[in-house]
Amino acid sequence: MLSKGRRNGKTNRIKGLSLHVLPFSEISDLGITERIKKILKLILGNKIVIIQGRLRVEEEIRLIEDTMAMVDHIKSFRGIELAVIEPNFKDAPFFDKMKQGLANRLSGGTNALTIIGPATIVKDIKKDPKKLEIMLG
């Protein structure tokens, strides 16, 4: 999937930007090693990966470990930018919480979105509880 912009009547791709949406179902059956390998392979292809769902905490730290091992071995790879957006349902009415809980169970806790991009393309992901902003390099 490629983002496109229009300038002077022409359609241009935003240089270097390529998004890849990874449905949770595509990685749900994979073990931690395979999951991280798949994500890093996409990132090495200069893609910003959007995962429907969030990685487990041990997968997030493994992602950082494996990323560092690759920075050391792959020329011009400088690492990743990573952010997880999770809707806050703490203050939601009871029935909304119940519906959300049920939906999460059915989808494998995939209500969140995880955004991971190569640090060379994504300059920064500025995150606060209410907004998420991706700055392109």
Binding site: I61, I80, E81, K127
Partner: protein, 212 residues
């Protein structure tokens, strides 16, 4: 899972047979938050020696550093522990960032290589800690994914945590933001550079050690 069970049984035995006198307290956090500066104050105050070198260039600490048997005394209470100062955890390392500090390309590349290895080493040490002090720069956004990932992993390992908001002497410092980012943990604000609020920090450290 096995590790968590081991931790639980170790803590149960420790509470049954008395307190461990050499608990390992790990200092974790992003680069340049002031982990080594804080460790230096503690070590200078109680052992008369520095822990490590500090610098304005990120990733000054690139190897895990350990100070054995640090004994602190505060309000009549004693605490003996090992300080484990770890390299800052980050998701990216760019040698060109170091060149902005007038570092030569060759040295910057060497520093980057060491920094990546340091991050891997920091993560590997997580399992060995008895308690963890997460040091954050109170002037930076605490909601970075690295902070959340580090704290999430500590929580998953059932390790006691104290969060330190450092650099509170600076204008933009916002301790409330750290407290709202991590509401389930005790947060203490200090300035390692100005040696400010260290009494409050030591009190928090005693409370942390009781949870081990």
């Amino acid at each position: 899972m096995i590790k968590a069970l081991k931790d639980l049984s170790r803590r149960f035995l420790a509470s049954f047979f008395g307190k461990k006198d050499d608990i390992k307290i790990g200092f974790y956090g992003p680069p340049n938050a002031g982990k080594t500066s804080l460790a230096n104050i503690i070590c200078k105050d109680w052992t008369g020696e520095d822990m490590g070198k500090v610098s304005e260039i990120p990733h000054e600490t690139r190897k895990v550093q350990i100070k054995e048997k640090v004994e602190i005394e505060h309000k009549g209470k004693k605490l003996t522990f090992k300080i484990v100062d770890t390299p800052g955890i980050a998701t990216k390392i760019d040698y060109e960032d170091f060149m902005k500090f007038k570092m030569k390309k060759k040295d910057a590349k060497k520093r980057a290589k060491e920094a990546t290895q340091g991050i891997i080493e920091s993560i590997k040490w997580l399992d060995d800690m008895d308690a963890i002090v997460v040091v954050l720069d109170a002037n930076e956004n605490p909601y970075s994914q690295v902070n959340i990932t580090v704290v999430g992993n500590i929580a998953a390992r059932n390790k006691p945590v104290l969060i330190v908001g450092n650099k509170i002497d600076l204008k933009k410092a916002n301790l409330k933001r750290i407290e709202s980012a991590f509401p389930e943990y005790e947060v203490v604000g200090i300035s390692a550079k100005k040696n400010k609020n260290m009494n409050e920090f030591y009190e928090s450290l005693f409370r942390l050690s009781k949870k081990v």
